[in-house]
Amino acid sequence: MNESQEPALRVTDLRTYFPVRSKGLFPKTVGQVKAVDGVSFSVQPGQTLGLVGESGCGKSTTGRSVLRLIERTSGRIEFDGLDVTEMSSREMVPIRRKAAMIFQDPYNALNPRHTVGAIIGAPFAVQGVKPPGGVRKAVQELMERVGLNPEHYNRYPAEFSGGQRQRIGIARAVALKPKFIVCDEPVSALDVSIQAQVINLLRDLQDDFGIAYLFIAHDLAVVRQIAHHVAVMYLGQVMELATREDLYSRPLHPYTHALLSAIPIPDPRAQRQREHIMLSGDLPSPAAPPSGCVFHTRCFQAQDICAVEKPEIIEFEPGHKVACHFPIVEFLGTAPITGLDPGLTKQTGAAGEDRGSNDLIREIGTDYGAAPNTPIDPGPAIWR
């Protein structure tokens, strides 16, 4: 892989706010839901960026804003080095060949009134692409490629199971060999036994066609199986961004630690011994995000400064970004990273601390979840 290559997708300081309107005869905009609030990342060709976070943290909004399916508030979006941010929907039409989307709900994402053939053939029809040998042949090849029986060309979605429908959605997404695909929780609605098959299929297609994925999921266990890099989101902001190896073995952000501790470990003994970090309190509303660090209301590391000053996302180590005043560094307790009053620094190893002990950190640092099926080359650092 070539460092100088343009990323398949680059997003810079993306913000998407939804207006909150008052009820009544003359609705007025009374506030904003900051669904996405200053998110930057890029995805290299043929690689996967996993985007993880709790429900409602703005993952789908990020994915949809990136594809210009909803209007962003500010920020820049580039496909393959081409700035698409200001393009009209008409100008976007040819660009949409390069980018596709796979949806979470395989029941809603396929038109129940169209045959599978029409659904997978739609990108050809919409984009006016005439594959050699005809659309029907191309569609049947795609069906075979994603593991569907090509003879089921004339069937309707209702005649397929959830996993098969997701395969139909995948075939449609890869039909025109796009440069990248936004996968919005593509396996969350599927049985666990089928999840792995679909993830393997996505990986195979990535290898074959060199597609880049923005892979959205709400748990780190799924992302681990496919992502080269992982971004952890909380309330519309990226908390941590790292290679898969770094994120799972040396997480820096308290929120990432909390998410990782929620992944079950197959070994029941280890599972029992491991300390679970329970986040206190509820997820705050993105309409009224907390001051300072958005995570401070639930953070077990929080100090006074956290409620006041927002931690900027910085490159803590080469290729490992984090937005936290007190990132958790393995064996070293927490280290202040901005020019803070040293008195604020919390010594996690000190006696009498209720949470965040060295034991916990060591435990967290060792192993989260099952090993991935195959090792994935983390690739070059993708951010500047």
């Binding site: 594809l67 399916l69 949409r96 396929l110 038109n111 009134r113 490629r145 004339n154 199971s161 098959q197």
Partner: protein, 327 residues
Amino acid sequence: MVKVALIDGPDSLTGSEVASRSLRKIVWTRLRRDKLAMVCLFILIALYLIAIFAPVICGLLGVDPYSFDKESISDSGGGPVGTWGGISTEHPLGVEWGTGRDIFAQLLYGLRISLLIATTATILTVFFGTVLGIISGYAGGKTDAVIGRTMDLILAFPFLLIILAMSGVLTQRLTALGVPDGNPSRITYLIIVLSIFGWPYLARIVRGQVLSVREREFVEASIAMGASRYRILFKEILPNLWAPILVYATLTLPTYVGTEAALSFLGVGVLPPDTSFGGMLGNSVSYFSVVPSYLFIPGVVLVVLVVTFNLVGDAVRDALDPRAGRV
């Protein structure tokens, strides 16, 4: 290239039965299983055929709705000679009071005009209601507001009063526009007013459905592909609206037959010697105590028409349900 296993565990579908089926075929297969619906469908088709071939049928039976038969009515008072309103081999359903015109022939010709008006008006209603409802629901904003207020305005109109009051002026206007004078103009007028006052009801239903269908992700998938607005509205969304539209159409058509009958009764409909159900019912009321069959015959056909249409509509809706069991 890595081949993906065709096996999906418990998730797989047996690949043996391979069929090429269009939506129409699926609906038809399901409909055919519904005995009652099939009977109703048969009756409806029969009624339409009878209406279309009314002149042929009347010719074969040697009756016609226009000629007076002085023989069949009594000289004193003009009542039909014989029992049951003058039923005889010459006049299978009896004759009209006062003129001796054949009721069977009138019924067939009346059915013809009633179905012509109701069917044409239904087609127009469905067309405008669907198109404007889809646009209104999908576009939102100003377009939705303009269409919505227009619908409110039409629905708030005292419909009957307007139709009655405007009929003279507007029928003349139609004649001036080149529609032949007399009944052709009056029929056109009826079709137009029924459609104008009918489409907003369907448009409201369609708009409501569009508001929910457009939130389904396949619409977003279509946008993500770069689909045109036309494609999204009429290829993605419209096919999901067939069930309510067809049901509405099958309910509207018999209603229009009834409305047309009422309007004819009130004097806006077709003029003698032509007749429709409304005209016949209107005539028959005066003689009800003496010749009840004159009222009952068009009445029964009207009821049959309404009931069969409704039953077929229900069956079509069930057959169109994508969640219904596999065929």
